[in-house]
Amino acid sequence: MSNNPNLIEINNLSVIFDGENGQHKAVKNINLKLKKGETVGIVGESGSGKTVTSLSMMRLLPNPPYCNTEGEILFNSRQYGEVNLLQLPFDKLRQLRGNEISMIFQEPMTSLNPVFTCGNQVVESIIRHQETTIKSAKARVLHLFEKVHLSNPERIYNAYPHEISGGQKQRVMIAMALACNPLLLIADEPTTALDVTVQAAILEILRELRETEDMSVVFITHDLGVVAEFADRIIVMYQGQIVEEGAVWDIFSNPQHPYTKGLLACRPRLDLKLRVLPVVSDFMATDEHGNISEITEAKFQSVGQALMLNFQSDAELRKHHERLIQQTPLLQIKNLSKEFIKKKGIFSSKKETVRAVNDVSFDVYPGEILGLVGESGCGKSTLGRSLLRLIEPTSGEVIFEGKNILQLSQKEMRAIRKDMQIVFQDPYGSLNPRMTIGEIIMEPMRIHSIMNNEKERRAYVIELLETVNLNAYHFNRYPHEFSGGQRQRICIARALALQPKFIICDESVSALDVSVQAQVLNLLNELKAKFNLTYIFISHDLAVVKFIADRILVMKEGQIVEMGFSEDIYDKPKRAYTRQLIEAIPRGDLDTIRRIMLKRKLQKTS
């Protein structure tokens, strides 16, 4: 071992991708040091180069000539002493991978091999790096499974990935990463795809393990709130560069760079009800060369100001709420149920009924945003789709403007769909890749004969594109040319094209970065005022729902657990389940950070 106190030291790292459209420098001259036992959080939006940086530490990027790395990554290895990972021959590198450096990925659903059992996949890693028998490796795996709090380790050991939940898969991934006591753990958005409650549990496990196993951790995320309670130091990346670096406390209490300020401000907050979410562009501007400049004469001088200047007072909110519920409901849902029948075996006539939505009743008032929250699998999406009859409900009534739409014929239903639209979660999957943006938005207009002729439709589509902050010249582009946030805005424009009265947003911002999410949320709010819309907003993220919704409906196992105005639900939740959901949200406020830092210090000295 050398005397270098750093476990890993990145000097002048650059990563250049060579694509059809010329070279793209994904990471530009990055320097980073990580001590033993330290946790550093890398924060940035998608495309900021954070994942590329982490993959280059493992050399998991595509090979040259498609991708070139420059600089050096020095790693203090147990086996080889100090080595430059970028120059290490592959056979030595494979000795380090999974052994001294291991990685947890964002998508637990796809990161495990579907055709091998979970146990087999972890054992494989142990056998590869340690001279041991299968039997003792299995014992080690079962021990690891207990450590990551998997109940019934034996069952998980023999289970295939499709037989267990997302949270369980991520725990298996963590167990796999820890299998050989790594010195460095790289966690690339390990909780982004998971529910808040599961996220809280996974973070707790990681926090516990880095102490007991004495690992250094690189934690990559787009959400500052998540790292706030986890990391010692934070590195903020933007367009391949490190724009700010410092201790968690400093970053949160006194951010220097405009981008960091923007990131901090744009997270939806639980304590205040804002009119408009601040966005990154309120704080900084980028010119065409990618140079960043701070907006000094901006609306908001600081994060605090951004918040203080536009929150809604309690009195304002009360008045708004009263006005809402005095109206006649736009949509009434009465005793709605949806059952799925699962056949047990082929020859047995036994059937299992799964009630995805179980006897649900509620009203939606015109001009309101009703938030629908719950963990994955609670039936919120099924409920949303049942309302539009995209899934045929088993029983109950859905009364839209006085008509029970469940009794309408196919033809009548088609006509009424014009007034009820939906925006889905995945902006990548819900746009036809072979159609231009203009065609995509115009298609439903043609079907429902909106506007008199093609020319008028075209003009309206362009108007819509401008409404969702896109441009007229985007009309003839194809979906793959757009980013996730832009695509989601296209989906919104498509929904708006029919001039609907009512839109269901099914996890419409969940797949987006925090900074982009803020833009889309603001857009939804603006559109509501402009077109007098009513939304049902389905999400697992309570902070987002808190920001956007007037009233909130909490669902669990197909039933409504609690319903009420957002403020009431957050301030005085009546049910334990609601409280649990709220407590799981990462706070990222200064008090929490201080408390956690203190705790970690005490643990280290003791």
Binding site: L60, R94, G98, S111, N113, V115, S125, Y160, M176
Partner: protein, 350 residues
């Protein structure tokens, strides 16, 4: 897993029954009268009537069908006579008056022209065809998968482009063209070096040694027959591997520090092989039923040869028997493939 298998087996029997029905009625509804073919152009109506009665063709179609099913069934009812005993080779269970309930192997009847049991006639031919098709598919699968993996790993390289272009050529060449070309080049012009003949069967009859196995005769027809499946398997493996290699679990496997051959053969190939297995099974079944051209060019005495011959002579029992045997092989292969799917991919087992 057991219920899964039983379900597939049940479907298999349904398919075979469907084939029996369709085959029987199609061939009996076809224009042309087999009795006239047998009796010859100058036969008197009386002779024809006698032959008809002898073959059981005078009865209504539904009765004929019932008799046919009875003959095929493993458990059946027959008149207990020494002649029947000889024909069916059955094992008597019990008898009521002069009818006997019996167990027997399915009886495919006899050829109109030769006094020979059809299953005996078919057995020889089927085994020749099976050996040929399986050899061809083994050849195609082995090289196809290997070439496909090489292409996927070296995607967009010169080698990849070359192999893909050649495989397109392989797919688009009709088998009878390839057969003549290959027979001519390797069996004639180059026969001094290859030591191969242009034609020949699996079994060679010679005056001195009797019936002899001639394995070298299989090389050229198997090569010809395997060309198109080879090309298709190469392309399928290539695209499937390319798709799978981008998946997250491959990255996980690499991040574990596994050596490359394990990442590729254990982790990726097992996931990528499913569409390839489908192609292999379909091709094997197609080859068994449709190797006619290749069998013809190489004078390979297989099933295709026999079937065509019998259709021309309206030898209905042979045609039906051959079709049935092919159907059974089809169903059997499908069954094996379904089991293979379940073995390869746990998600199918549910």
């Amino acid at each position: 897993m057991v219920t899964y298998f039983l379900k597939k087996l049940g479907y298999g029997f349904l398919v075979i029954f469907g084939v029996i029905v369709v085959v029987f009625f199609i061939f009996h509804a076809l224009p042309g009268d087999p009795t006239k073919m047998i009796a010859g152009p100058r036969a008197t109506p009386e002779t024809i009537a006698i032959i008809k009665k002898d073959l059981g063709l005078d009865k209504p179609l539904s009765t004929q069908f019932a008799y046919y099913l009875n003959d095929l069934s493993v458990i059946s009812v027959h008149e207990d006579t020494p002649k029947n005993q000889l024909d069916y080779g059955y094992l008597k269970l019990f008898s009521i008056s002069n009818s006997a309930f019996v167990v027997k192997t399915p009886y495919l009847r006899k050829s109109y022209y030769r006094n020979k049991r059809i299953d005996e006639m078919l057995f020889e031919r089927v085994s020749a065809t099976l050996v040929l098709s399986i050899t061809a598919m083994l050849f195609a699968t082995f090289f196809g998968v290997i070439l496909g993996i090489i292409c996927a790993l070296k995607q967009n390289s010169f080698l990849d482009h070359t192999l893909v272009s050649i495989s397109v050529l392989g797919i688009s060449t009709p088998s009878f063209v390839a057969a003549i070309f290959i027979a001519l080049v390797f069996g004639y012009y180059l026969s001094e070096y290859t030591g191969l003949d242009m034609t020949g069967s699996l079994w060679v009859l010679s005056a001195i040694d009797g019936k002899q196995l001639a394995l070298k005769n299989i090389i050229l027809p198997a090569l010809t027959l395997g060309l198109r499946p080879l090309a298709i398997i190469t392309q399928l493996t290539r695209s499937s591997m390319i798709e799978e290699l981008c998946k997250d679990y491959v990255r996980t496997a690499k991040a574990k520090g596994l050596p490359q051959h394990i990442v590729i053969f254990k982790h990726t190939l097992k996931n990528a092989i499913n569409p390839v297995v489908t192609a292999i099974s379909n091709w094997l079944a197609t080859l068994i039923a449709g190797a006619f051209f290749v069998e013809y060019v190489f004078s390979w005495k297989g099933l295709g040869w026999l079937t065509i011959e019998s259709v021309q002579k309206l030898d209905l029992p042979v045609v039906m028997g051959a079709t049935l045997v092919v159907a059974v092989i089809f169903v059997f292969i499908t069954l094996v493939v379904d089991l293979l799917y379940a073995l390869l991919d746990p998600r199918v087992r549910a």
